[in-house]
Amino acid sequence: MYSFEIVRPKSVADAVSALGEEEAQALGGGQTLIPSLKQRLAAPAVLVSLASIDEIKGVSSSGGAVTIGGGTPHGTVARDVAASYPALAALAGNIGDPAVRSRGTVGGSLANNDPAACYPAAALASGATIVTSNREIAADDFFEGLFTTALEDGEIITAVKFRIPEKAAYIKFEQPASRFALVGVFVAKFADGVRVAVTGASEDGVFRWTEAEAALSGDFSAAALDGLAVGADGLMTDLHGSAAYRAHLIGVLTKRAVTQAG
């Protein structure tokens, strides 16, 4: 690692001010950033740890939505939303491994927007609202491509508001070494329609499969997806799977998610 200093602000305001310094970088749970620093893929002068900011931690639910502080670790989400939003709890409880879930945070995951991360699929399928240090961003406007989001420099995710669907499920085809999604599909059925978000597959990161949404909004059953397929164009090819294989998985996993959601 290159050398840097760490500061640990106790409030969002202090963190935003620390991030205004030259070459400052936010540190969430560090489960992606620290390995990246070891590979010298980043060279911040100052890391601004968000882990001491109590105001961005915790889970609360009201009025058909669950609000999760941006600094809440996956393990806490898995436990604390199990009753209010079980599909989201299950997703959080299968990220990485228990030690990763002790540190990694929902805000960090969304801000990083790894194309194979789980949380972006939950946020997009739930029509979530990403609350930051200075505004609210709809999930539909938040994800802008590979490791790219609508966040501006120094902007911190303070909370994520997930609308709670009537039915939902997330199915991930795990890359067995990393536990990231080779492909993951989140299906959420709301009174006003169904949303389907796919992670792990596209070169542009998480996306909505709108044809499946239209079909499922009319008939929420796996059979409604018969004959529908995502094209391989624009999907990722790597040593774990070709674009065509990923395209096939999207169809299979969406059906499984619908069946599991019931």
Binding site: I6, R8, Q31, P35, S49, G96, A99, V100, R179
Partner: protein
Amino acid sequence: MTKVTMTVNGKTVSKEVRGNMLMTEFLRDELHLTGTHVGCDTSQCGACNIHVNGANVKGCTIFAAECDGAEIATIEGQANADGSLNVIQQAFQDHHGLQCGFCTPGMVMSAAALLKETPKPTEAEIRHYLEGNICRCTGYHNIVKAIMAASGQDVSSIAAE
């Protein structure tokens, strides 16, 4: 450099640390607690697992500066007060839960965290919990058996393989 103060296995320690000093480096190089092993240093293997304020974390993927004010538990603090092996460690010995032993500190720390959360885990729960602990000797079967035994469950039906 930043000054950090934390409690490690019940003892308060205070040191000046570099911003980029990992907990594995702090424990091993500064405190000479070399029981926390560095297997991969890439967040995969879990040999460096420690407890930070009771949470099971990878020592190689957290900075010492982030642990300022925290309660740290490492493998060195796991034995009983009289120096005898604790129930998990004893079960690992009784059920041959280790071969070369390199992964064992992390396995024991993960097992302790699991049993605190889930006192009587099923075999499936144990295997799911150990996803982030790699045993290069592939001795998982007896590790799982040892953890079952440590939780007070009957393991006679689990055949030795």
